[in-house]
Amino acid sequence: MTRWAMVADLRRCVGCQTCTASCRQANATPPGVQWRRVLDMEVGEYPAVKRAFVPVGCMHCDDPPCMHVCPSTATKKRADGIVTIDYDLCIGCSYCAVACPYQARYKTDRASFAYGKATASEEQGFDPKRLAVATKCTFCADRIDAGLAKGLKPGIDPEATPACVNSCITQTLSFGDVEDPQSNVSQLLAENQTFRMHEELGTGPGFYYIWDKKVEETPS
């Protein structure tokens, strides 16, 4: 079985927001809607200040609370772990948005564009089906599916890989199949210490954060 997942190496992220911009361009999301966001966290007090940049978005959970609460069955989980929304079924009740512990869902009631009138590219990407319904990161499922149909490998071949991962200038973001022990993401998880956001809630996020390398055991 395939289980698509994303890995963010927090040691590498510089908070450039290229992934955010790339996602917005690829998915034509309106102003204020960022399916891939980067949080800028500053902790401590001068001079002991630390800073972390944390990419967030839909975590494509194993046990997604958004799917369980959805009254219209618009939110579903595919066999490969990607959580999807059927815009034709969604009633825009936002129950999924309050059920999501990751603030990953958006609802925009009317069309809006960065500079008032739609630019040519905004016009091209505009989808009226997305108005007044829940939207979120899709892991660029259409790219993955199209890539797989061409025999490409998501996470390795850019054409089959989510836009945010392709655009990342520091290789913070990686994408792949965590069920395949040889995959890029499985290797990263094996070599490093990781955590998942709000793991205590039992949602089983498909998004891992690397924070340090694994400590090598020394033979006694």
């Binding site: 927090l10 966290m41 609460v69 069955t73 009633i91 936002s94 059920a99 512990p101």
Partner: protein, 280 residues
């Protein structure tokens, strides 16, 4: 490092007063329908109480209908009875209206009592609906289900007593039930309070604490004292009971309004570890 680092929670912006109205009106309507069906009233009085109960539930549902993004697809709400408490709430509401309207049409007490059982399901679904919202720490506390449920009983009983006091002195049985509902709600609040204090953020706890105080002082102690006054001083009984009923209703509504529109802070983001740079 042991502490979590992150972005502080902020208040959810997805559900506003329209969602709150569903829980306020739906709860009071449920409670009213329940006590009316088992209070022994009959004929036009029963019809009027049933209709008012259903009107309140309907007003709550219409209020939510104004909030959803695609109102013309509202019937899709019924597609997920397997896991969604919103779907189950809609089914329970359908059953309440079918049985309740039949009871009104036929002035039938057995049908009214069947509608009352359906309304218990509706009130329970409302509690579970909020509790299933995992992204809001103040809502996902299991004890909230019973607080929402018991406040529905107390609000409905309060409304019933207030209405009865307008025309006559309410029956002792109804007053006893009202007292029990008030005590049950106060107990549910106390259990919820100890649960929510472990999960919710300080800002949410502050507003809940204020609202809970009102629930206890003006929504439990004051109505119980007024009930006692009504028993001891028949001259002022009707006004005391009217005030007791209205206090129980109003304090329940204020609590649910606060719960949805003021205490609904989200989870925020928290890192159990900060990145250790230079090790990749």
């Amino acid at each position: 490092m042991k502490d979590n680092f992150g972005v502080n929670p902020w208040h959810q912006t997805n559900w506003d007063f329209r969602a709150a109205f569903n829980f306020m009106f739906g709860g009071a309507g449920s409670g009213l329908l329940l006590i009316a069906a088992f209070s022994g009233i009959a004929g036009n009085a029963l019809r009027a109480e049933l209709l008012l109960g259903m009107a309140l539930i309907g007003a709550g549902l219409i209020s939510v209908w104004f909030e959803i993004g695609r109102p013309l697809r509202a019937l899709n709400v019924g597609f997920n009875p397997h896991t969604s408490w919103m779907t189950r709430e809609s089914y329970a509401a359908g059953l309440v209206f079918a049985l309740g309207l039949a009871a009104v049409w036929l002035a039938s007490q057995p049908l009214a009592q069947a509608a009352a059982l359906a309304v218990l399901m509706f009130a329970y679904c409302q509690g579970r609906l909020l509790q299933a919202a995992k992204g809001i720490p103040a809502w996902r506390v299991p004890a909230l289900t019973w607080l929402v449920f018991t406040t529905a009983l107390a609000e409905g009983a309060g409304l019933f007593v207030a209405l009865a006091a307008l025309f006559d002195t309410p029956a002792r049985g109804a007053l006893a039930y009202f007292s029990l509902a008030l005590i049950a709600r106060a107990l549910a609040w106390s259990i919820y309070r100890s649960g929510v204090s472990k999960t919710a953020v300080r800002a949410a706890l502050a507003v809940l604490e204020r609202s809970g105080k009102i629930l206890i002082q003006f929504g439990t102690i004051a109505p119980l004292a007024l009930l006692l006054l009504g028993l001891l001083a028949p001259d002022v009984a009707r006004i005391a009971l009217l005030l007791a009923g209205l206090a129980a209703l109003a304090t329940g509504w204020q609590f649910k309004f606060v719960l949805i529109t003021r205490a609904a802070y989200n989870q925020g983001f928290a890192l159990p570890h900060l990145p250790v740079r230079g090790t990749q």
